[in-house]
């Protein structure tokens, strides 16, 4: 083996940093067992997979499942819902914790900050099933939100989840409510590390509070925002399965059906593992493309992930 080859150098490195590599071992094992070993299951997307017979006994069908998915009358709306929900989510849900962290940062009274943080963190610890139960109850005909809506619009109260037009707002607002506080931790932590001298310098230069925000605070946390944004873009075709599934009904399926629920219905419930895997693989490939493109542009600003 070449002395400068990768493995030769790795060997030397391991000898040198035994403890570090030992610490890294569990992580490596985790990724091998849970992320790489299951990869062979991707082959299912090209087979008419029968669990009892395994790959050897199952028929190879090529791209049949993919073309079936693209031909399905639900394909258009599933893609629309998945992508639009993510676009809206990036517009409305992604900036929410950043704004919240900036607001918190401006408050200088410790007690107020602590209370606000605890109150906004709490919802993230509520099980999603419970949260969806609350949403369903609030949106019922005699529910709180339905009636507030009815008072505002002057129409008779109706079940908001039975109307597809309300589905996106319900989904996004409840998402903000549940996750905003917790997601703001990382931004708030970044803000606390901003050098106070920068602010003093800005003040001497005559910058007001807003000018300080624009010229000091935001540039300081921009790398964190970029990293979070790239990660977020990598799940462009992911919509949390549980929430969509728990809120889905025939009357709002027009907006609530997304790739994840479709995979579950056709793959696991419909016993068609090949079809389910094919749809899953398709969305994974698109996700990767988004991640790569975002990173490509982020690298131009020298904030890329790799």
């Amino acid at each position: 083996m070449n002395k400068n080859s990768y493995f030769a150098r790795l060997k030397i490195d391991i000898k040198r940093k035994k403890v570090e590599y030992l610490l890294f071992l569990p992580v490596l094992i985790y990724f091998i067992i849970f992320c790489y070993v299951p990869l062979y299951g991707i082959f299912m997307a090209f087979f008419d997979y029968v669990p009892a017979l395994g790959f050897a006994g199952s028929e190879y069908v090529g791209f049949q499942w993919f073309s079936l998915f693209f031909d399905s009358i639900f394909f258009g709306r599933i893609m629309y819902n998945t992508i639009m929900l993510n676009v809206y989510s990036i517009i409305f849900v992604f900036p929410a914790p950043i704004l919240f962290a900036l607001l918190l940062y401006e408050i200088k009274t410790k007690a107020v900050v602590k209370t606000a943080q605890i109150l906004t963190y709490l919802p993230v610890f509520i099980s999603l099933v419970v949260v969806c139960g609350i949403i369903v109850d609030f949106c019922k005909v005699d529910g709180l939100i339905s009636n507030i809506m009815a008072t505002i619009t002057g129409e008779a109260a109706k079940d908001l989840l039975d109307d597809a037009n309300y589905y996106f707002p319900i989904y996004l607002i409840s998402d903000i409510w549940q996750n905003m506080g917790f997601s703001s931790i990382v931004f708030y932590a970044a803000l606390c590390r901003v050098d106070q001298d920068l602010y003093d310098a800005a003040k001497i230069d005559g910058a007001g509070r807003f000018r300080q925000l624009i010229s000091v605070t935001i540039p300081s946390i921009l790398p964190i925002i970029t990293v979070m944004f790239i990660i977020r873009m990598g799940s462009m075709l992911n919509v949390g399965f549980e929430k969509a599934y728990l809120l889905k009904r025939p009357l709002n399926a027009e907006r609530s059906e997304v790739i994840a629920t479709f995979v579950y219905d056709r793959g696991l419930k419909g016993n068609n593992y090949g079809y389910g895997t094919a749809v899953g693989l398709f969305s994974a490939v698109i996700n990767f493309a988004f991640l790569w493109v975002t990173n490509f542009f982020a690298k131009k600003t020298e904030n890329g992930l790799w």
Binding site: Y40, A52, L53, G57, I73, V141, A164, L251, K269, Y273
Partner: protein, 542 residues
């Protein structure tokens, strides 16, 4: 850089290939179960054997696990067995079943063998189930005798290839139509009407319920959805929510694509619009319906008379039955709820006992399954323990008050049905006499007999079975179709499609049907027809 990447990818690929080969361990050759039953050794019960049994719990009695069931304990004792029941969590039964098959973590016996995609026949050919056909005459003689005694039952239990692959629980006679319209008698008296007969009568009565009595939920829709008991109203229009066949020609049809279906939707839409059906009907639960009924907010619901008697009140005073509605008086319906002798569709639970390939004691497993077809087993499963839950009066079993006495049983009647006897399972079901609720409310017999006699069953499809390929066509295309139909009908009823006008109905109708055709309903009808043909060709004689 490039070099190590290539090496890693080769490594991963070879690992993946070896794993896939590993996963594909060869199933047992189905030919292994070709035996001559006359040469089989007798069952030896001297050694105690443990059998694991996978069986879902009944949704209305989730705390009555089968290890607490008196009758299963008795069967275990008599046959020198140890029974270990595996119950999937309530609500996740099908998911758990599929996972069990994928993981090949099989018990000895599965009570829902019919759930395998493609049915018992595919389960056997994939090497998951044992083919018990050749063992039945020896190890399950009572089952075999009773099954072969009636050619109609035998035909329902036989697979398309002519084998009997499972031990099915069945009824030896045709059971009654068990659900129908239940009217609020007090409300009917208040508006001075009798139970309505035609759709027109229904419309008038519901109108009076709404306008004179101010009911906010005059017509209560079952939470399982329109597809379920509202069959009753669709049938007046000669349509159904699923597959039916033409009574005259035997041609297979899809209910929602029939002319009558649109008329039916229009009727329900009108009722929704006039406020007979509450806007909250999409989220109603069953107990809310019962409460509304008692609070004079509901005038009619579709239910089982035993439930009505147990939960609502006295027959003739609080509630009364009505015939299934018809368009014109004297019309003969051809569609109704019907329990076949063998309940083999996927919604039937605990009716299909199969022995899996991990069972090491095939003879003892069949011996246990056979117990429900012995004279003793039939009495025990159906009626419980003599002298405790029932007594013999003039040669007929009569239930005591034991099951109804919460102080003794420590539970309600629904759970007691699964603890001191069995309501359904692998045995000869004698529902007409073995349901203590029917015995307690004998007037219900008349009600169910009337419903049964009112409708023929010529338009119903028998329990056909699909091959794996057919099942796949149905799963792939039909899932889309049912989802589409369900969404469209809900939108239509709640008026989200367009305004009520005749032209709207016409466009809805034409686009609806064009979409059904586009989604391949014709292919599916072909699949169902060929499955029906195979069913009709099944030999009923041995």
């Amino acid at each position: 850089m490039k070099k190590w990447l290539r090496r890693i990818s080769v490594l991963l690929l070879s690992a993946a290939v070896s794993l896939s080969v590993f996963a594909a361990c060869a199933p047992k050759n189905p030919g292994d179960d070709d035996v001559d039953w006359t040469t089989l050794p007798d069952i030896d019960r001297s050694e105690k054997v443990t059998l694991t049994i996978w069986s879902p719990l009944e949704q209305w009695a989730p705390d009555s696990t089968y290890d607490k069931n008196v009758i299963y304990q008795r069967a275990a004792e008599e046959l020198n067995l140890e029974l270990e029941f595996i119950h999937p969590p309530v609500g996740q039964e099908t998911d758990q079943f599929n996972l069990m098959i994928v993981e090949k973590d099989l018990p000895d016996i599965i009570f829902c063998g019919n759930w395998y995609p493609g049915g018992v026949q595919e389960g056997i050919s994939h090497g998951i189930y044992r083919n018990v056909n050749d063992y039945l005459p020896k190890y399950a003689p009572d089952y075999y005798r009773r099954l072969t005694a009636n050619p109609d039952i035998l035909r329902e239990a036989t697979m398309d290839n002519g084998d009997i692959g499972a031990v099915w629980g069945f009824a030896e006679y045709e059971e009654w139509c068990y659900s129908g319209p239940i009217f609020n008698k007090k409300a009917l008296d208040a508006i001075g009407e009798d139970a309505p007969v035609t759709i027109e009568d229904w419309d008038r009565v519901l109108g009076k319920f709404k306008n004179e009595l101010g009911m906010n939920s005059a017509f209560a829709i079952h939470p399982l959805g329109l597809q379920y008991l509202e069959q009753a109203i669709i049938s007046a229009y000669g349509a159904a929510s699923g597959f039916i066949k033409d009574p005259a020609t035997g041609e297979v049809k899809y209910g929602p694509a029939e002319n009558g279906y649109i008329d039916y939707l229009n009727l329900i839409r009108g009722w929704y619009d006039k406020g007979y059906i509450p806007t909250s009907f999409t989220t109603n639960d069953w107990l809310t319906n019962v409460d509304n009924f008692k609070a004079m907010q509901t005038g009619v619901m579709f239910d089982n008379p035993q439930n009505a008697a147990a939960l609502i009140g006295e027959y003739g005073k609080d509630w009364i039955d009505a015939p299934y509605p018809v368009l014109n008086e004297g019309d003969k319906l051809q569609i109704r709820l019907k329990n076949w002798y063998v309940q083999s569709n996927n919604s039937a639970w605990n009716t299909c006992g199969v022995v899996t390939r991990s069972c090491e004691n095939l003879d003892r497993a069949l011996d246990f399954l056979n117990w429900g077809f012995t004279d003793e087993g039939i009495m025990a499963y159906n009626y419980g323990t003599e002298g405790v839950t029932y007594n013999m009066v003039d040669g007929e079993p009569v239930f005591t008050d034991y099951l109804f006495d919460n102080d003794i049983t420590g539970t309600d009647i629904y759970s007691a049905l699964y603890r001191f006897k069995c309501h359904n399972g692998i045995f000869v079901r004698q529902e007409k006499t073995a349901n203590p609720l029917i015995q307690r409310y004998p007037e219900n017999i008349g009600i169910m007999e009337r419903w049964t006699e009112q409708s023929g069953t010529d338009a119903l499809l028998p329990p056909i079975s699909y091959t794996r390929n057919e099942q796949q066509v149905i799963d792939l295309y039909f899932t889309d179709i049912t989802q589409y139909v369900e969404e469209q009908q809900m939108k239509f009823i709640t008026g989200q499609t367009n305004d009520i006008s005749n032209t709207a109905v016409a466009t809805y109708d034409s686009t609806f049907r064009a979409n059904l055709t586009g989604m391949g309903i014709d292919d599916i009808l072909g699949v169902v027809s060929s499955a029906l043909e195979r069913y009709n060709e099944r030999t009923s004689e041995e």
